[in-house]
Amino acid sequence: MSVGLYMGTRLRTRFGKELRVVEQLGDGGQGIVYKVMYDGKPMALKWYRPNVFVDKQRFIDNLRNNIMHGKPTDAFLWPQDMTEVIDGSFGYVMDLRPEGFVEAKELFIKPGLFHSYRRAIDACMGIVSAFRVLHNKGYCYQDVNGGNFFINPETGKVLICDNDNVAPEGTDTGIRGTPSFMAPEIVIENSVPSMKSDRHSMSVLIFLLLLVQHPLEGVRLTQAGLLDGPTQKRLYGTDPVFIMDPDNYTNRPDPAYPNVLKVWPCLPEHMRDIFTRAFSKAALTNPNRRPSELEWIRELTRFRSEVVSCSCGNEVFMQDAKPVMCDNPNCRREVRVALRADLSQYSLPFVDDTRFYRCQTCVCNADIALDPLAWVIGARERADILGITNISGEPWGVSQGGSQHMIAPGKTVQAIPDMELDLNDERILIRRNA
């Protein structure tokens, strides 16, 4: 038994409720997580060990503020209530982790839990969009690591936990995080965590989820031998080098860990560009040069639409809906799609499960970037007959062969070549692919 709460213990909370400890769920360095009955519902309680805080009062004040302000979105397992302080220990109440969610770091070890890149991209989009809301509310997260993000690999849904460290931009909570996820300026202790440092951490997380390798961990890490504090400070702080840096070849991926070497060449150019930008010397040294949430959302939504399944089951990336060779060595077929969707800036393959978001069709701000507009679906009777569903909440105009009609929200229309969808001022043109 570790020091903590006995099963059946009852505690009073700040909101005058009572909770009862039911079972222990996990045991970490900072504290223990229990399942509790709280206000008649099963919830989770994070119970801190005594003496884990440098400045306990500041931590409690911040936690109380977070509880009062409420969760930014449903993607956060947010503190909802806190307990009384007993013998120097206390805890906070949050929702339980639902079935089917695993810690992000499990996906770094077992990448195959994601059955498809689309799901992995969905998870990345979920993370970026949660950060966008958090940052817009003036918070920064501070402590990104593989244990703080729960992901459902079947659906790509994301839940962000350990929100006790979330604090208003500019607050020094004393939390510095996990070095491999920390922005260089935090590693070298030049500044306190900020939205801009969150952006670096977020980029690292996206790279890890998609390419299953840390962007700064190449031969410099494997050849470092003894990984002591000063060595890590150099790798992540004073002299970080992107493993795919176009100019600096000193930290190439270690061939013993070939994930990046396999995935990187298959990525569409715009994804390679944004990663190269996010981990360039400029962005590593100047926080203002890091891609914003909106930029990530734009590239990820496009990327998501470019993933197409070959008939062998392998996924390929198709830039501008152009034919591409399947790289499954047992297949090697040319993958083509019959239809494509022309947007103002690029074209996308038009296939089952293609999704269109507002940021793909027009210039927009981050708030509405991920508003869904349209969703492609195969007919029940024949998968190759495609329909497009209006999920925008507003009626569309559709024109084809000179005739025009309206599609109400929630309705689906069969997609045929040369159909033009008019979504307010935005256009999607469906074309037969040459």
């Binding site: 570790s2 992995a120 299953v212 002591d228």
Partner: protein, 263 residues
């Protein structure tokens, strides 16, 4: 695109956890039985750490010493998931110096630490219930020039009626990193908790110049086990003068070099 299933696990540094265990004659009967069961549970707890609390590949190596010393895994540290405890028997003298000499020879990139990736500072856990029957101090002075040893997270157990607690303090560098107990139940629990705390602390990356200390691991283990400092701490204090000159040879020329220099 490569199948997601064809992608391997992300590169993770190794974390080596060494146990240096006294299996001399005085450990016969109950103590060795308790040690065997405690190691069983410790290995199980480390599997949990490896799965959930660590950014590292956790590997175990066990060196038992009595009149001679012997690695349980002579081929080198094994991944904790592949490691299963095999019971040890007790007999013979307490040749601590020989054990240190053997440990020194294996704590090297050319020996046990020759993995493909880099490694965090190792964890080394000592246990004895007696006094050395050889000249351990000579060997200790040598091994302290081994950077893997000197910078390791070292913890020591002094158990039984009459252990050389001072010797253990010298092996681990600080009296605060020693657990002194005559209660085999407390020993078994703290062995498990300190294995967890030391490997959790060492197996997560950090960038401070201050390395994870054995005393921090012991403090965390006491907190986890609900044992007070007074119950298990030695009655004296000892603190090793930190070695900074890892570049020097062991002849003790008196020169020092800046070990924090960036290459």
């Amino acid at each position: 695109m490569p199948y997601r299933n064809d992608l391997g696990a992300v590169m993770r540094p190794d974390l080596h956890v060494f146990y240096v265990l006294d299996t001399s004659g005085s450990m016969q009967n109950k103590p060795i039985g308790v040690l065997n069961r405690a190691m069983d549970e410790t290995v199980d707890a480390l599997k949990q750490v490896a799965a959930h609390h660590s950014d590292a590949n956790v590997k175990i190596a066990v060196l038992e010493f009595n009149s001679t010393c012997r690695w349980i895994n002579p081929a080198g540290p094994e991944y904790v998931d592949d490691f299963f405890w095999q019971d040890l028997a007790a007999a013979g003298r307490t040749e601590v110096g020989a054990a240190l000499r053997e440990l020194d020879s294996k704590l090297s990139r050319n020996a046990f630490l020759n993995s493909m990736s880099s490694a965090y500072l190792p964890v080394i856990i000592f246990m004895t219930d007696g006094f050395a029957t050889d000249d351990y101090e000579h060997e200790l002075n040598r091994i302290l020039h081994n950077k893997w040893f000197a910078k390791a997270t070292r913890v020591g157990f002094a158990i039984g009626r009459n252990p050389d607690t001072e010797m253990i303090a010298k092996l681990v560098g600080s009296s605060e990193a020693v657990i002194r107990t005559d209660d085999l139940g407390v020993f078994a629990r703290l062995l498990r908790f300190v294995s967890v705390s030391a490997s959790t602390l060492s197996g997560n990356s950090h960038t401070t110049d201050e390395e994870v200390s054995g005393s921090a691991a012991v403090k965390m283990a006491r907190d986890m086990a609900g044992v007070s400092r007074e119950e298990v701490s030695p009655s004296f204090t000892y603190e090793e003068t930190p070695f900074r000159d890892f570049n020097s040879d062991s002849s003790g020329t008196g020169f020092t070099w800046d070990s924090t220099r960036v290459f």
